[in-house]
Symmetry: C2
Amino acid sequence: MLKPLSEVIVFAPATVANVACGYDILGLAIDKPGDEITVKLNHSGEITITEIKGDNGKLPLDPKVNSVTVAAQALWDSCKEQFSDQWQDFGAEFIIHKKMPFGSGMGSSAASAVAGAYAANAILGSPLSKREVLPFAMLGEQAADGSYHADNVAPSLFGGISLVRSNQELDIIELPVPKDLWVTVVHPKMEILTKDARDILPADVALSKASKQLGHLGGFITSLYTNDMALMQRSLQDEWIAPHRSKLIPQFAELQQAVMDNGALGFNISGAGPSVFALSKSEQEAQLIADVICAIWSDFNPSPYISPVNTTGAYVLASKS
Amino acid sequence: MLKPLSEVIVFAPATVANVACGYDILGLAIDKPGDEITVKLNHSGEITITEIKGDNGKLPLDPKVNSVTVAAQALWDSCKEQFSDQWQDFGAEFIIHKKMPFGSGMGSSAASAVAGAYAANAILGSPLSKREVLPFAMLGEQAADGSYHADNVAPSLFGGISLVRSNQELDIIELPVPKDLWVTVVHPKMEILTKDARDILPADVALSKASKQLGHLGGFITSLYTNDMALMQRSLQDEWIAPHRSKLIPQFAELQQAVMDNGALGFNISGAGPSVFALSKSEQEAQLIADVICAIWSDFNPSPYISPVNTTGAYVLASKS
């Protein structure tokens, strides 16, 4: 049943995809940065974007192509059908506040798509569950980057650590999150084009190397179910991606050595980069790791982000009935 | 401390490697068939093989090359050093009873290696744990097939479902076994040379396909921890191996269709084949699946084996103090 609100402000967090051992099928959420979206209900029958902040003019104001409103519109089209007896020619205006950088490897487009779909549901009084919101957020992400991938979208929406069993079937598993699992993400002020990050990867991987990676992924998932942090550390390996993509990341080998020397459970590129991430067992370690990375990257005006794995995902910051 | 026995008879079971979604890194044990080995202690200072039954004269009687005694000798060399004060010029004679076919895809050489190492430990009064026996069984397997792989050895020794996080580091994880998880294995009377089974595999796999397989493996492991049999069924997929190796297995597509139509959780080649296996939720289903396979394979004089996942692994059948 629809119980519409007059205004909502929602937040969807940044995410770390791949998580070293799960290329294209693992992602986790962090507390900050993220996208904040304000939605005001009206009865114009239309979804519009009235303002975009923090994007340096890069994002389209056209609601038919902006991933926020593509996701929102798709969800509304579905709700309009499902709740046709209650639909009062609803319209809404969106104010988008990008609170995170583009092309950072922190799932910027996914956070927008999630925030759009989640806000569109929230303003109607949340008739859909988060699971039901997911396919619409996926359409927003697809509008932004052309591919149908849940590895950033799912953790931004649900929080926690998401395993994508299948993108095609949208079969997403929410994995258990050990207590005291901290994440450090550092974003250097440089841009890697997604195209370059993709082009540098080989089309194929040796079957023997592929099989080893299965072992690491299996070890990581087991470590989450058994709270075995030593196993997690042994499993956060990447035989496929970092050997290639790290060439685009300045001082990658030096960063990795320094971070692991300072007690990290694992270190790797966040998504397609250039941000890097580390997992660790305490806030103190996470902070130390951030300091170590920022010192090595002093030429790149780095922005560090520290939080436990965020188990909340998208949420309503404020609302008016 | 050594508390030697005068005679032991041990059994090590057959195993299903790969288990559809975990090429080279997953294996599980079944109740039968397997290898039975009798060891009699003496004080000759030597390990000898006095008889091999059920091998049609194919296995070497030379203890320096037979995988049973290679494993046993390696374990004894280590124990001789560790327990030098108690070592009384021990020797032993081995009687090997192969109760399973060669080149069947059921881990025949692994069962021999495990039985050899396990028997060598048992006759000394079991000074080592199964975990400590593992590296010696691995040496026996390596002697037989030239590679250092634990995907058959580990489940034959420990029982249950084994994940090989790393062969190099011998990092083996014993995964949880859901209640009522039944295995059907059917062996057709034909031989596939391991070399042919390997040569038919491509050297590389597309990165996108490799990544999908990570999702399936992750789903399977999650299903074991959460007892989610529907997830297990969705996850028992093989994007890498069966599309190639199935060309060596007569009527593979027909078998797969019939087995899945009869309620199986999954169906695939057992190890390198030619045996096939299916997982199911009851003895009744497992039997029905065996009947279905045997009917389709009536030209191949098929031998069916049905059991729950065997959680015992290698064990002592009988002993004399």
